[in-house]
């Protein structure tokens, strides 16, 4: 196939993948809605049980949080599981198309597909999907489906609509194999930051609900299906602990080595460098916070979310708002 054909295939695959991810998102949204409905139906039954054993349930000790209701209607539970599975299947399908779109883009441009903002966006969102799909079985991340598909579909849609640039060769400064190493390390750790950030958001929601339950309140139906806050805290940590060394390598080793080759200094406080360092410092603070009394849990999760926002600003905002050496091909 000629580069032009590859470019056409890529331009077909990326929007298709966006649509499939959007469908996966709808399926996961239904999963949440069904979770709410399923529990609402059984709430009446449950209420009586709760009234009967009220004192015992509430004073059940630290961390004792009622699980998903035992008396759930089997039919709606099946529908719920189906929605979850269909969501994941669609995500896999979207991922395959997305991967194809990124690879053909690279073949069309005859280089790695991350030489401008459009390509960074399709590659970075692919990294989010990869990290999610790698960890989804291992850490039981199905509950993250809605958030991940939303982020990936939004980034891809935005890329296709607003950032599209036809495939072309690179500006001379990007002619280096460090482009492959530096950007892929940054993109994969960015994917993990996103997954870790999403888990941390849900952690905060769940932890708040758990505190309410301990104070005698009830938990919103859809939240009961989430893992315990403690488990989610552990998951966020594992994902971010994977991302942090990779990010350190990407922006504090590979980046400076390349900068030394291209610009004659390994560190020059270029805006992108500054924000990469800020991202690094925030995640370093996250790791320290998890070991500090008074910062565990809520504090650490908040820092993880701040880190995610800082990363996104570095990825998008710095290119759009601030001029610096990392501006290529228009943006």
């Amino acid at each position: 196939m000629s580069p032009e054909t590859y470019a056409q295939v890529s331009n077909l695959l990326i929007p298709t993948a966006t649509v499939i991810y959007a469908l996966a998102m709808v399926s996961h949204a239904m999963e949440w809605a069904l979770g709410r409905a399923a529990v609402a139906k059984t709430a009446a039954v449950k209420e009586e049980v709760l009234v009967a054993s009220d004192g015992a349930t509430v004073s059940g000790g630290a961390g004792a949080v009622p699980d998903a209701p035992a008396v759930e209607e089997p039919a709606s539970s099946e529908r719920l599981d189906a929605a979850s599975r269909i969501g994941l299947l669609l995500t896999w399908l979207g991922f395959v198309l997305h991967l194809g779109g990124v690879v053909t883009r690279g073949l069309a441009a005859e280089r790695v597909p991350w030489g401008n903002m459009y390509e960074f966006s399709i590659t970075a969102s692919l990294a989010v999907a990869i990290v999610y799909l790698i960890f989804v079985q291992r850490y039981k991340l199905q509950y993250l489906g809605l958030g991940v598909t939303f982020v990936v579909a939004a980034v891809l849609g935005l890329a296709a609509l607003a950032l599209y640039t036809p495939a072309g060769p690179l500006v001379p400064a990007l002619h280096s194999y460090w482009l492959v190493i530096h950007v892929s390390a940054a993109a994969i750790s960015g994917g993990a930051f996103t997954v870790g950030g999403l888990v941390s958001v849900l952690y905060l929601v769940k932890a708040r609900a758990e505190r309410r339950v301990l104070a005698g309140g009830t938990m919103a139906a859809s939240l009961r299906r989430l893992p315990s806050a403690e488990a989610m805290d552990g998951t966020a940590y594992k994902v971010l602990a994977f991302a942090f060394p990779l990010w350190t390598f990407g922006v504090l080793v590979a980046g400076p080595i390349w900068a030394e080759h291209a610009w004659g200094r390994y560190w020059g406080w270029d805006p992108k460098e500054v924000w990469s360092l800020v991202t690094w410092v925030v995640y370093a603070a996250y790791l320290h916070a998890r070991a500090t009394a008074g910062w565990r849990g809520r504090g650490a999760a908040t820092i993880a979310i701040v880190g995610w926002f800082v990363f996104i600003f570095n990825f998008v905002g710095v290119n759009l708002l601030v001029s610096g050496l990392h501006s290529y091909a228009g943006v």
Binding site: G168, A173, A241, T248, G264, Y266, W269, A291, T292
Partner: protein, 529 residues
């Protein structure tokens, strides 16, 4: 950090009160030191560092773009001086930013040095005795045997195979593994210090300078030859510069000629001849972006390029007052280049010219512009000035700007400003027989950066070791395991239990596996129902 401190505090008695103690200077100093090296302070300092770094990416920085800083000062007459006082134009060298990172590193050293000795002691300590109630631990298994036999020896072998350090006790074994976690943690923090030392060394003893060289011309490495030069604080002068020299023989550039990225540069190459020392043999090198020339610790980089029109100016008396290339600076992506030609020796009046070199000239509605960066239709569009000869002041003057305070612009007979538009080889006569200017042709110039940053290897080694340490501290999981044999109602009970420090990862599975390994060898005679 607190994890350890908590344990030390717990071991050494009740915790100190949180407020400053009324203990005089020494007590107060101790309290301050303890506060500074606490994890909470480290956290706050990390946040301050992150926050403090931000303004440098939003406000123009003198070290990156001094022109933008002076533009900002002109545009914001009130805010500018305030920013200047706060050091916002040079954030990363400002006193407050330095204070944050110095405090952070003192805090870091104060935290990891005591930890090092704790760790070394911990290394020599044996795995601890089993706690009384093993069944309260997160991982627990038990089974019964008719007689104890060699179950503890088997357990020792099995635990050693699983890379535990094992200690025998009376009727029990204690085992621990994952010592590398804290080792990694310490390595990470010490390596960061190492990396920072490398960075500091480079900024003290290094230098960086840039120079614009017209193709065909040369450069020899001395401070006076640079257009701008930034030495490190401990840089002593020309003696520290390696005595190399180079000549730019040729420069080639290719631009995208069609498509949406039309005009984007695709390739630059400069052909250099160089000598490492004045007596060394001449060598040649092809200088490209991403391929610097390394010379005795210094590196030569290709940073940019542009055009230098060659002109000859004759004065009113018919003498050549100026002849040669004048580098013009590109103003846009199509290389519309602005520059000046000065002929202070012209008589009876001095002459000066300013205007544009347009590599691909096109007369648009707003006057002539360049529409492509390559030299497809080169033209020189300039205007001229004259003035009375001035005595030499010796003050340095910019070669890119014309001081027009004592000059008058040439006018046409009808009163319009005089200007000329020349293709290579063409000449223009100045009004009032003041002389002539000839556009002989043009050369290209390259901007070279020459820099030397010692300590780079140290910084790289530091950060690489830091990553190694980081992986140890994040991916090694300390675990303690115990196996105990005791008599209970006349039967022999074997208990296997374990405890993870940090998040639990497959503890139950391993305890189960150890239990399985112990069972067949020792209970082969008789399996309990």
């Amino acid at each position: 950090m607190t994890e350890i401190k908590d344990r030390i505090a717990a071991a050494s008695g009740p915790e100190e009160p949180s407020g400053p103690p009324a203990l005089g200077l020494v007590g107060w100093l101790r309290w301050t030191w303890r506060q500074l090296t606490s994890m909470k302070t480290a956290l706050v300092l990390l946040f301050l560092l992150a926050l403090g770094a931000v303004p440098g990416s939003l406000v123009p920085q003198t070290s990156i773009d001094p022109i933008k800083v002076s533009d900002f000062l002109t545009a914001h007459p009130k805010l500018g001086p305030l920013y200047d006082k706060l050091g916002l134009f040079d954030v990363y060298k400002s006193a407050w930013f330095s204070a944050i990172y110095l405090l952070l590193f003192i805090s870091l050293i104060g935290c990891v040095v005591p930890r090092l000795s704790v760790y070394v002691k911990g290394l020599r300590a044996r795995p601890p005795k089993p706690p009384r109630n093993l069944n309260r631990l997160p991982g627990y298994q038990r089974f019964e045997l008719s007689e104890a036999g060699d179950v503890l020896e088997v357990a020792t072998r099995e635990l050693r195979r699983r890379r535990f350090r094992v200690q025998s006790y009376d009727g029990a074994v204690g085992a621990e593994r994952g010592y590398l976690r804290e080792a990694g943690n310490l390595l990470f923090h010490f390596s960061l210090i190492l990396a920072l030392v490398g960075v500091a060394w480079g900024s003290l003893f290094g230098y960086r300078g840039s120079v614009l060289v017209v193709v065909g011309n040369g450069f020899s490495n001395s401070v006076a030859q640079y257009d701008d030069f930034t030495p490190g604080r401990a840089f002593s002068g020309d003696d520290d510069l390696p005595p190399f020299s180079l000549t730019v023989k040729d420069f080639e550039v290719k631009f995208q000629e069609d498509g949406p990225q039309k005009g984007a540069a695709r390739e630059f190459k400069a052909q250099l001849d160089y000598q490492e020392t004045p007596d060394a043999p001449e060598k040649s090198y092809q200088l490209e972006v991403n391929h610097p020339l390394k010379l005795d610790g210094s590196s030569v980089y290709l940073l940019g390029h542009g055009y230098a029109p060659r002109v000859t100016v004759k004065d009113g008396q018919g003498n050549v007052a100026f002849s040669g290339p004048a580098p013009f600076l590109p103003q846009d992506s199509n290389f519309s280049s602005f520059g000046v030609v000065k002929a202070p020796d012209a008589r009876p009046e001095t002459l000066g010219f300013e205007g544009f070199f347009l590599p691909t000239s096109y007369i648009g509605p707003n006057g002539p512009v360049s529409v492509f960066p390559d030299d497809l239709n080169p033209e020189l569009v300039m205007t001229g000035y004259y003035g009375r000869p001035q005595p030499e002041t010796g003050k340095p003057e910019s070669v890119y700007q014309l001081d027009k305070s004592k000059l008058t612009q040439f006018e046409q007979a009808n009163g319009d400003k005089w200007r000329f538009q020349l293709a290579p080889g063409q000449s223009a006569q100045l009004p009032d027989k003041a002389g002539s200017i000839t556009f002989d042709g043009y050369s290209r110039w390259v901007k070279l950066q020459i820099s030397h940053t010692p300590g780079t290897g140290l910084a790289l080694a530091g950060i690489s070791l830091a990553i190694l340490g980081l992986m140890g501290s994040l991916f090694v999981h300390p675990r303690r395991t115990w196996v105990r044999v005791r008599e209970e109602d006349g039967r022999t009970v074997v208990e296997v239990a374990g405890l993870d420090r940090g998040p639990e990862r497959g503890l139950g599975d391993e305890i189960q596996a150890i239990t399985t390994a112990l069972k067949p060898a020792s209970s082969s005679t008789q399996e309990q129902p």
